[in-house]
């Protein structure tokens, strides 16, 4: 199975053709847009890696305030407590709801960090030799693409809590400033993953051994 995947195959680029990434149509070089679906044609997206690194950097930078500043402001009987993302997880563990603590920890800490690493690894693998086979790397790319949006859970939870728990003096929950930077961080990493051209994964493996 692995052998079949890694055997050289004829790609559109090697045949001197340009393939549309939206609808799969193969074109003779020349037209700027696909005549089937109207998408912009390029054999390889040359600016892909630049955009990947730019969005990834932006996502990383803004992930810092997302963790430092409070995500939730809880007011119980006049006393206000601020909790950060990690603080929220710790609270949940103290309350004994390990399952939910696990989900939140996974969605807002593990997945974002794993995504930063995975995207950086994929981008580096285009220019450097790495151990993982192209097939596995493409799988990693598909996982990153799929998982990205699920990090938004925490922002939604904050919104739901804030709209629901508004009982004046007794209890009130308000969103903190970290919600906005966390949402931006998720959006930037999604854009970073979308900027990556997966065809680059395979190109490196097609270069002759030196």
């Amino acid at each position: 199975m692995e052998d079949a995947r890694d055997a050289p195959v004829l790609t559109a680029r090697r045949a001197g053709m340009i393939a549309c990434t939206e609808c799969g149509k193969v074109h003779v070089p020349g037209p700027e847009r696909c005549d089937r679906c109207g998408s912009r044609l390029s054999s390889r997206d040359e600016t892909s890696l630049q955009r990947v690194w730019a969005w990834l950097g932006a996502g990383l930078v803004i992930y810092v305030p997302a963790n430092v500043y409070p995500m939730l402001k809880t007011t119980l009987l006049g006393k206000t407590t601020n909790s950060t993302i990690f603080g929220g997880v710790v609270d949940l563990v103290h309350h004994g709801s390990y399952g939910i603590a696990g989900i939140v920890f996974f969605a807002s800490i593990m997945i974002p960090v794993a995504k930063f690493i995975a995207i950086a690894y994929l981008a580096l693998s285009v220019t450097h030799r790495v151990k993982l086979s192209p097939g596995k790397r493409q799988h990693l790319y598909e996982v990153v693409e799929f998982v990205g949006r699920w990090s938004m859970i925490d922002v939604f939870v904050v919104a739901i809590l804030a709209s629901l728990v508004q009982l004046d003096f007794a209890a009130a929950i308000n969103p903190g400033i970290a919600a906005i930077s966390f949402a931006l961080s998720v959006a930037f990493t999604m854009l970073s993953a979308q900027s990556f051209d997966p065809r680059l994964i395979w190109d490196a493996s097609e270069e002759p051994e030196q």
Binding site: M17, C23, G24, I100, G135, M152, I153, Q166
Partner: protein
């Protein structure tokens, strides 16, 4: 040498920075399909309804025609629109503490960030949960409805289908539902919580969306659009 032989034969592994001269004529290229993920060329074949064509190298789905797919997608998109309206205005969750009841609808949730520094998030929330999914449903109906009835595609149909495809990762209705589940448990200790009708409308919406996306095969839709246009 037939076209299939050319595709199957292994070319020497060399990469030119510029494109080499085209190996196929435009007419031959019409019988080829390239994997959208890894660029491998395949000979275009009729794919029977219910079967799935995958890329020989990276196993990504190339084509996946399903019977009555167009009609089903339209029906599902229309039901999703109705459910979205229901989910918007009915109460979503109810919280009762010491005789006081606090109801929250989807609209309240969206407006939760509207005070102070987090105000821009209101727009983002509205887009992710309501606007973008709705735009997707509407554009799918716009693109597919004329085709299901055997008409020529509507004007700018290709723009709207591309739009629907690009919006797919940003329509986060199902993520929101899991968020509700997490919020439920978080508040459960604080007060008595009950689920309103809009919650179930939203769960149905998510199921319908997942079903619809399963029926959707991008390449098949593009090919149908192309043949209907000519």
């Amino acid at each position: 040498m037939s076209l299939a032989d050319v595709v199957a034969s292994e070319l020497p592994p060399q990469i030119n920075p510029a494109l080499p001269p085209p190996a196929f004529t435009a007419e031959q290229a019409g019988h080829l399909i390239a994997c959208p993920l890894c660029d491998a060329l395949h000979e275009e074949r009729e794919i029977a309804t219910g079967e799935t064509a995958r890329c020989a190298r990276c196993h990504a789905v190339l084509e996946q025609p399903r019977s009555m797919a167009m009609t089903r997608i339209i029906m599902l998109a229309l039901s999703a629109l109705v459910l979205m309206i229901a989910a918007m205005f009915f109460p979503f969750l109810e919280l009762s503490v010491a005789g006081r009841v606090q109801r929250s609808s989807l609209l309240d949730t969206i407006l939760a960030f509207s005070n102070g520094m987090t105000a821009p998030l209101t727009i983002a929330m509205a887009s992710l949960i309501v606007i973008l999914p709705t735009v997707r449903f509407l554009s799918l109906v716009y693109v597919l409805a004329p085709m299901a009835f055997g008409h020529r595609p509507a004007r700018h149909a290709d723009f709207f289908f591309r739009l629907a495809d690009h919006l797919r990762p940003w329509a986060m209705a199902e993520v929101f539902i899991v968020g509700v589940a997490v919020a439920l448990v978080k508040v459960a200790g604080l007060a008595h919580l009950s689920i309103g009708p809009a919650f179930w409308a939203f769960v149905a919406l998510v199921l319908v969306t997942v079903l619809k996306d399963n029926f959707m095969c991008r390449v098949t839709v593009w090919k149908t659009l192309e043949t209907r246009r000519s």
